[in-house]
Symmetry: C2
């Protein structure tokens, strides 16, 4: 069953893609086999991450990006675009699901566009894992561009876009203390800044603040300096310039792209090793009831969680051992 | 140094508490020793988690909860309250830091109140781990009540309140599709629902929707049915009733509380085992360069990440082995 699902994904069948993403979302065991089957066919897509606070107009901007990218062709072929909208607000607002439908309507009938929202409510890290696997599926399906849109409010969500080939941070004027926005580590993840709703009061000041903060950084000769771009997504203003800037970023430093790909590989490996270790430990490395006993002792305060964790690990990898 | 820091925490010294929380926030190695030293003295606080969408008025509500709880005494002693405000929006808005200062002002001089925001931007799961350790520090310092406030938009943030002794979900009228709010797994984590800003249009409908959804659940006799409470935090309306409901919940089922404490122990142990395993594997279980080689092969698509993870794990815990 999965080999044929893999084949259908490689052929770009949208229903197979949708089904496969549902599998990774539900953390179905079949998803692992599927990723194994398609993995050799991945690594071709260019991955663009977009993050920013709620209300920055990211959905509209992504909408415009799709249209602009779709209107471009490379060697006579129009670029295809897939979007993963990671919407952690959906447990409360249902925004993702409704948004999905609206957006799908706009592009219905266009086979070169695929839009999907992710809103896994599993364990810690589950969302990042599912998004990462969904990206692999879309990559194997042959999409030229994959846009991952997150609301940059949760740790997972910032983490998700951090390893994209290009990371766009979208800000809006008047959304609070601009200076704070820059202090808190956003500078480091942005390859491009977008001041959206740039027709609003305070847009110029926000752009200036971003620029003056960038000027505090010392960029080496030849090093990419994140540009600050102004857009008004609702009127499609500045979107072509944004897309041009993305391509400039992509073309300026090819080694960066392979470094990011390596980063994705590394974070995925670390995540999987940790996650699968725990499962394996419980199945094959523990005496029956041993884990539960430790949990009871932690709850009873007769052992602290750090010592309990070390006690389990000592059996598997003694600290002194050098293999 | 740490043993004296531990002693000062146990004595309730606010500066020692603040310093210890900074240690866990920065994932300092000394933090592990500190938690080990204080852990036996924890398990006495009652932990209240509050989550809800941005704009639900949680900060004001928490403010009112502090004042109401502070006004109450048990056996002639006024209850002390500590608050951990997990504000993942702060990378963009700086809300946490500013909010902290404002809130601290209101309660300055009151030694029975401690307020602290957490906004770690570390690795996946880092925020949950830091919050969990900060809770232990406040618990060891003797606070009767610990309130953990999160914006329920990220997976980590929902996860953080899930294991509190009492979990309050705060909603507001007019914040989107009410029905969706209920579909998305929020029902399961709430012990109490609060409709805040209950003087607004649509509040009654929201409360009715919550009630009618609750009535679809079949509660066993004696089982807690989450009440739906109306508050207007700005005018202090309904807050005493909310506090009463929290105490009713606390007193109705003591076994639930020990079950939650066990859940906290379990999730902490799982998290620590996974995290510390990876570190130990790299230090003691791998040949030099072995991990990097695998990462390169993943990036080069010559091995998929799942197979790479299994390859590392096979050496540590063979699948067939039964210890």
């Amino acid at each position: 069953m999965n080999s044929s699902l893999a084949d259908r994904i490689l052929a770009g069948d949208p229903r197979a893609i949708a089904r496969a993403i549902s599998l990774v979302e539900s953390e179905d065991a079949a998803a692992v086999e599927l990723i194994r089957a398609i993995y050799a066919h991945t690594g071709q897509s260019y991955i663009i991450g977009i993050t920013g606070p709620p209300g920055a107009g990211k959905s509209t901007l992504v909408e415009r990006l799709i249209a602009t990218i779709r209107s471009q062709s490379v060697q006579g072929r129009r670029l295809s675009v897939a979007v993963i909208a990671v919407d952690p607000t959906s447990p409360f607002s249902g925004g993702a699901i409704l948004g999905d439908r609206l957006r799908m309507l706009t592009h219905s009938g266009d086979k070169g566009v695929f839009i999907r929202s992710m809103a896994t409510r599993g364990h810690l890290g589950g969302l990042a894992r599912a998004t990462s696997d969904a990206t692999l599926i879309l990559d194997a399906a042959g999409f030229d561009i994959i846009i991952i849109e997150t609301v940059g409010v949760g740790q997972d969500e910032v983490e998700i876009v951090r390893t994209a080939d290009a990371c766009i941070v979208t800000l809006v004027p008047g959304a609070g203390d601009d200076i704070q926005a820059l202090k808190a580590g956003i500078m480091e993840i942005a390859d491009l800044f977008v001041v959206n709703k740039a027709d609003r009061d305070g847009a110029e000041r926000l752009a200036l603040t971003l620029e003056s903060n960038l000027s505090l950084h010392s960029f080496k000769p030849g090093q990419w300096r994140p540009p600050v771009l102004n857009t008004v997504a609702t009127t499609n203003t500045g979107v072509t310039e944004l897309v041009d800037a993305i391509w400039r970023f992509r073309d300026q430093d090819k080694t960066l792209q392979s470094r990011r790909q390596r980063m994705r590989g590394e974070s995925r490996l670390r995540d999987l090793v940790s996650q699968r270790f725990m499962k394996r430990l419980e199945r094959n490395g523990l005496k029956p009831g041993e884990f539960d006993d430790l949990v009871e002792r932690i709850a009873a305060r007769s052992i602290d969680p750090y010592s309990a964790a070390d006690q389990l690990l000592d059996r598997v990898i003694p600290v002194a051992a050098k293999t």
